[in-house]
Symmetry: D2
Subunit: 432 residues, 4 copies
């Protein structure tokens, strides 16, 4: 799990095993968090509108607490925490650490203020940077992996900052603009075609030798049957056809739980969509926009992705199929580094008859329930709680999104959410 | 309902029927709202932690919207509203005006910002003040009562700003201090004694000739039986005895709904109380404080007040008894004008063997269900929705509190809340 | 509280202070309970479809348990209870007796069987009857009042058996018939006219000298203002006009809580009503029937009664007004003794220009919150829990209904329910 | 899917492709349903105490409706349904057929009566039997598979009748006895040992040639890694150790959702267990019994099974591992045919150092999320809704239970429930 080699493929330009490399990445990642909240007003940072979307202020503090709880308090003698109750307030679900403040009450705290949280970040940065520069060699060796996990952890929360802000703004009748940006994309979308793969025993999972989460290990064999996978993501235009064709009214293609959820919540379209006399609009971080039929559909639940696929006579890929299909592709895509904050279309010009839009853009729902790989072992200690505990009633998503950092992503990366959730940038790729 | 005479008794030093008087009071009331939020950080103004306690930002905007919706838009030709959606966002329950934004979502709005809301207030102030100074005499005559209602409405919300802030801060494990103040009070509390009143037909309600809410009218006759009323409020010390004596565990003295509520919510003390090894503490706007046994108990529900009274072999007074007892007393007390933000004790020195603590301090629960007086009529128009709609399942409280403006209060004033609520400054006076 | 005199007015033909009288009434009341369940199948006796409507089997057992717990176990030496757990299973809310089985789980018990419950009734009857016949004079004197309460208690549950069965059958898509009966009523309903009463001090409440519940005492003085009360109940036809006229869509005339309740529950008509192409039908204990516009409207909540009244420019009477208006009238009406199980119309022929339909037919909602009369005292002991605990958030109904026993009713009788409930035979009489 | 050959292995002694065989099995299965309700009182058949456990009356009717809806109404010209609303009342989730009556309201129907449901069963039996005996050869060929599905469907509901009755009786404080039986079992339980299997590509799923549900198809290849599986089920005694050792209090070994569920529901032991001064008791269909430490633990959720396994340093098997381990074993076990209605112990005498208790006894939780096999296709038509719709958030259980019919079971049989459910006979077998 240690990054032993420079790994250009996963987008990290620097060698995190060196002090210089780690310090540079630490500063870059911590600074990007600040860049993300830079366009905001103080008021935007404190509000929580639903249990699953936390205030940006909480993310800012929690990512600092992580360095404090798992590194500074253990690695530094005589380390003084910034505030004795921050551990309680900004813990998440790490039960072995201390009793966490309720997840749905993160928006109940006006104090500490945003400024105090910024001071907390500075305080943590200072101590971490001093350690990276001045620690003994054995200490650096020992704690480097924890710092690398801390940076990956912060990158995950950067994605959540974006999606949680979108959710908060999306509920506001004033439809605030987060940041005005221009998205590329012209011409027609290429036709939906299929890439075929032959059955056999294949290896899935992280090969080791660089950073990965526990849930990507161990690399193991799978028997994969013949399958075909679509050359691109499903577009808004295709999903509008599904709506117009009565897709939400026809229980035949829906999972039983999915259809109940649709009826109880009155779902008639993806999240953020609004039908007007002038057609479909949706809220984006650019404000309200007329929907571009050529862009990938996003903010759909597993239920909707699955129903769309069944109605089309197809299915969603398994995560094993997806990883096999991705294996040989260059790792390019519309990641958050491009600062579009929204998926973008491909034009038929750029279509190379191969697989497009596999990385970045939107997380692609797979039909695979989130489960341990054969031989899976949780890492020891409190960080080990991380992934094993959530292997229940969730579905794996692959590919990263327009809110994911390029340097955080790997082809073996397994994201996971409950089937009902839509506030992430989630989309649909078909298989059969 | 028009203020026709200077009414020193209800604390208004100025004649609101004159332009000068109204302008002075308008500036004073509007300024006091700002004074109340002055000690706060931006973060403190936006959060809503429960449906019944709104963010201070919402109160700031709503009290301005009130002037806009019921006065400026109707009285001024060509009035341009500050923002077309503020009416939707800052309306409360005035159904005849427009569909209001959900009460429990007032804390979901990071925008407009606090600064924008201050600008909204300034904009409204400017237009109202211009009208008071420059309107024609018939226009002034016509709209003066609406402006007076608007000021009283704002004073009600000032009280809510205080109690809602307290509720938000009280939930925060950091126990933020709103404002450090010193409360008077030394010596012993006088013994509990009784004042007797003889049965007969008495008049209750507002006599007219000055401002009052619709629910105080008309003055009407009541047959009141012999009763006695206590000389002072129940103290923290007395309530601690109730607790120690098993008061919360003994269903015999509780209303059926009250005891169910106690069990379901795990109530073991008034709101904000916390037992420590060092005895009882409570959260106040001064921060956490050791409880002073001589101060009046507050933040108790009707259920607790009623159970306390029954267990003491007494009962709560009716609102008619209370008003009769209050009739001859000078209207003095610990109102918000004293800026204690908490009830204060009386010492036996100041006891004149009469009734003490009848005004200010804490709202006193009566056993009277909130209902229309015989001959009650709602005022015409949207403002008329105000009181009649709430005459169901609520109980009347009398006397004002340490968060009530002296100039807002009258002896005929009827406050009302559901039996379960505790976040107001509510307390107990016994009768028998 | 002792019945000291024969009281033909309240319908009891027999003197309950004598052994013969009490025995006769005991047998009559206990037999009428059996008559009520005689048309049922075993299956109909065990089901509970909502918390507030208990299975008939529970009523059968609970009314026997009442005699056991409050009389047999205390009055008879060496009394052996029929089954040691019946006290737990068939207790209701008498907290001083033992921990009761949850109210909403009364329908979870298939055992004891209906036959076992009938045996339980026989067992209790036998012991009670032996006591009435053979007890010593002082014992008879001592326990006669408790037996009289037991009989009144059983009569209350007879009314609930009827309304709870109706609720259960009304939910069944097969619309089972309880009993086919013919209801009288022809011709036109008399016009709505008003009887006037002059203001003054009047006495309200039970004068003593015969049986009454604690909540009817003490008789006390009220100041009643001038009022008028309608000559008859509101009819189905009039209520249909309210519906057609948009009554359910217009928040202006509704209590705030009432309108929320209407919206949340999708109420568009009284309970049991169903609109068809052939007009309005409703479920009755006769099965589904086309609604007779001349019959009194029933199964309306306080919210609907209040909204109807306000929209008509009137209001509901207070319970004090109602009792004053009823005072001089002969106590006749459509009680359960007539076995119609539904309110009936009056025809203009029978109209004597006075007050009609004051007794029997439907319980008439008053605007009076259920509260203690001045000087009210709960009776000592466990039976004393009975009424005082419920004096919160309920409204008083007067007049009895088509499901009330004539011998159970008095003009001072105070029934009470929460504002939202509709499964009792409740209706509307206007005042102004 | 057609039974083409006599298949002694799955316990069907008769050839269901012949008229004689099918008729015999039809009579046998339909009669066994009646045998199961024979010990009951009418009251026991109508009550529903939770959404997921239906009344026995509903099961009796629903299994008859199934034959009516999917066979009689389609196969017989001029078939007259017994009652036009039964289709609505006794449908379950077959959305393509008609709008079903709400699942949680099955216990709200006192009518039709139990007798009427028995008549309904007779009516359906008569028509089915006539068809089997007298239909044309092509008609018999065409409808034989549907009848076979109907019989399997009824056998599934027989299992539910048993578990739903147990749930209802288990809630009753009187702890009624369903049927007094003696269970075998003496001596010590053999030590926990392990059987090893080597990794490779294996086939999983139904090979065809006989009856199976859609979810067992198609047989397909899986890569299975080295694993070991325990020789027997976890016992009550071992689970008591888990409890005594603080297993329910230690979040470390629980799934995040599992631990939340435990805390919210106050779980401290398996369902039906009760701690007394005399040790652990549990409710069985024999009534309350002292727990036999040698019998397999049952009525545990997936959460508890998973936590038990993790704490033991093991895991649950996958369904692929389980099927591989079961492949060579003789299909014997404690099925419902033995009429024990409870799992039984093995003694060390009968231990053959191989795998014991693989069939019958308790359904064994696997760690496999319920999902489609590669190449899975739903059967066309309304019956096809059956399995595909539920492939979400459920876990596969294998092995059958003491409430499963021997002739209904196959080694490829996939049962599935949500992780939280405990009212089925579910238990634990470890793997590693």
């Amino acid at each position: 799990m240690r990054v032993k080699t420079k790994l250009p493929e996963n987008g990290v330009e620097t060698d995190l095993t060196t002090r210089e490399g780690l310090l540079q990445q630490f500063k870059k990642v911590r600074a990007f968090t600040l860049e993300l909240v830079e366009p905001l007003k103080t008021e935007d940072l404190v509000i929580q509108v639903t249990e699953h979307a936390s205030p940006a202020k909480w993310h800012l503090a929690h990512t600092s607490w992580f360095f404090e709880a798992f590194f500074l308090e253990k690695a530094l003698e005589n380390y003084q925490t910034k505030h004795p109750q921050y551990s309680y307030l900004f813990n998440s679900y790490y039960l072995q650490t201390s009793e966490p403040h309720c997840r749905n009450k993160r928006g109940n705290l006006s104090r500490p203020t945003v400024d105090e949280v910024f001071q907390y970040r500075d305080y943590v940065n200072e101590h971490v940077e001093l350690f990276i520069e001045n620690s003994s060699e054995p200490d650096f060796e020992k704690w480097q992996p924890v710092l690398e996990i801390g940076l990956n952890h912060e990158q995950q929360h950067q994605e959540l900052i974006i999606t949680d802000l979108k959710y908060m703004f999306g509920q506001n009748p004033l439809h605030p603009v987060y940041l005005k940006t221009e998205r590329p994309g012209t011409g027609q979308v290429p036709e939906l075609t299929w890439s075929s793969f032959s059955e056999g025993v294949y290896e899935t999972g992280h090969p080791g030798g660089s950073f990965g989460y526990d849930n990507e290990f161990p690399r193991h064999k799978n028997y994969i049957h013949d399958f075909k996978i679509a050359n691109r993501l499903i577009t808004n235009g295709e999903f509008i056809e599904f709506i117009n064709d009565g897709g939400y009214d026809d229980p035949k293609y829906w999972l039983d739980e999915g259809y109940s959820h649709v009826v109880e919540n009155g779902w008639r379209s993806p999240l953020y969509w609004k039908k007007t006399d002038d057609g479909w609009y949706h809220y984006t971080l650019n404000g309200m926009e007329k929907i571009n039929p050529n862009e990938p559909v996003t903010h759909v639940s597993y239920f909707e992705a699955d129903a769309y696929a069944r109605r089309a006579g197809c299915r969603l890929p398994t995560e094993f199929e997806w990883e096999l299909a991705a294996e040989e592709l260059p790792l390019n895509g519309n990641f958050v580094d491009a600062r579009h904050f929204h998926p973008t279309q491909i034009s038929s010009d750029s279509d190379d008859r191969g697989l497009n839009q596999m990385f970045g853009e939107v997380w692609q729902w797979t039909q695979s329930a989130y489960a341990a790989y054969p031989g899976y072992e949780t890492f020891p200690g409190a960080l080990g709680e991380y992934n094993g505990k959530f292997m229940c009633n969730q579905y794996v998503l692959r590919g990263g999104s327009c809110a994911t950092s390029r340097s955080h992503f790997r082809k073996t990366y397994r994201n996971f959410f409950h089937a009902k959730f839509r506030w992430q940038f989630t989309g649909i790729r078909l298989a059969k």
